[in-house]
Symmetry: C2
Subunit: 190 residues, 2 copies
DNA sequence: TCATTAACATTACATATGTAATGTAACATA
DNA sequence: TATGTTACATTACATATGTAATGTTAATGA
């Protein structure tokens, strides 16, 4: 007896992502989605209790994409790959990046997860295995701060000419500086 | 014959700053200001053509405060002081920091000015005078990226326990790492 | 074929905001 | 003291947004 659905949940989320990408998270509204779908605002409320709920779902999707980016094999160094993916994500998905890290979505949980991921990656780099826990922690923190600063610069358009290989070089050079320092301080302690 | 003014331009800007500090730049509206002043929205339009114009004036004020912060003598190193002031500003004036660097105010002009300032400061550090222009430039960029990353972390609340002295230490340590690397690479070239 | 019902459209109400139009009262001067 | 000017208040209109209430229609089972 029921009528056949025209729109589904995924379509609504996809339209939302398109709006966020083009106009920013702040512009995401039920009416914008309706315009995008060429429909009324009703379908949105068919699948989501509120705009708040939809926005959470959209945020989740951008996070999925971020995780995709930071797990790609840009180089042979998985530790570096995370940072490179992060910066390239900032370049290619400005508005998603802003939504995740610079809006009021309390990104600290997300950053925690990223750091945890980095913590496992860093162990895979052979030359760093000899470092103590606190030494590795310090190195991690420095690398993360630099990566984040770099990415925000890319995001805000201050760092231009940012081809993949240039991003890789910039981050890898900075990483080597931190690593060399960490190894040096490790040797000195002994 | 005219009536005595009750509110002046400065009061309106001050109220605006209070609102931005407490509720964020997005919440700044004529009616909010009126609430703050216990008045109507009319006085705002007495001194400003539009809210847009007022917002520009408010942004200018936050920039003035930022310049104040980055010119304070936290340490004897003027180069370091800029970064420290920047991070402390992010800690003490979250919403101003967001408005300036993370909102859509096209901060690149501001960053340019900051970099120019840093460029003059760096020359005052004796041990760095020997570096070539491009070497100094590279060092500057690295320092700036790190400082910005650090400040955004402070802003987003990820870096906690951020007393002045801890911020100074963190940035000075990172600075030393970059400086040592720059000097080392300079020596190698010879 | 037709009644039912889910999916969507339409309309409407509430709130927030910018800002123009209009009203009002205080104050300096004549 | 009367008056004109101006600073502010009030009111109103336009737009944007969330979302509830209500209307409409397409698909299916009887």
């Amino acid at each position: 007896m029921p009528r056949k659905p025209i729109f589904n949940k995924d379509e609504i989320i996809e339209s939302s992502l398109k709006i966020v990408k083009e106009k920013g998270f702040k512009q995401l509204s039920a009416r914008e989605i309706a315009r995008e779908l060429i429909s009324s605002t009703r379908p949105v409320y068919e699948y989501f209790q509120s705009m708040e709920e939809l926005k959470m779902a959209v945020l989740e999707k951008t996070l999925d994409l971020l995780y995709d980016y930071i797990t790609r094999p840009y180089t042979r160094n998985p530790f570096l790959n995370t940072g490179v993916g992060y910066a390239i994500f900032a370049r290619d998905h400005r508005e998603y990046f802003r939504t995740i890290f610079l809006e009021d979505n309390d990104a600290s949980g997300i950053i925690d997860e990223l750091l945890k991921k980095l913590d496992t990656e860093i162990l895979k780099v052979p030359e760093l295995a000899k470092l103590s826990h606190s030494e590795r922690d310090e190195l991690l923190k420095r690398g993360w701060i630099y990566t984040h600063g770099f990415s925000v610069m890319v995001f805000s358009g201050y760092i231009k000419n940012n081809q993949d290989d240039q991003i890789i070089r910039a981050l890898s050079e900075a990483g080597e500086i931190f690593i060399e320092d960490a190894l040096q301080k490790h040797e000195k302690k002994k």
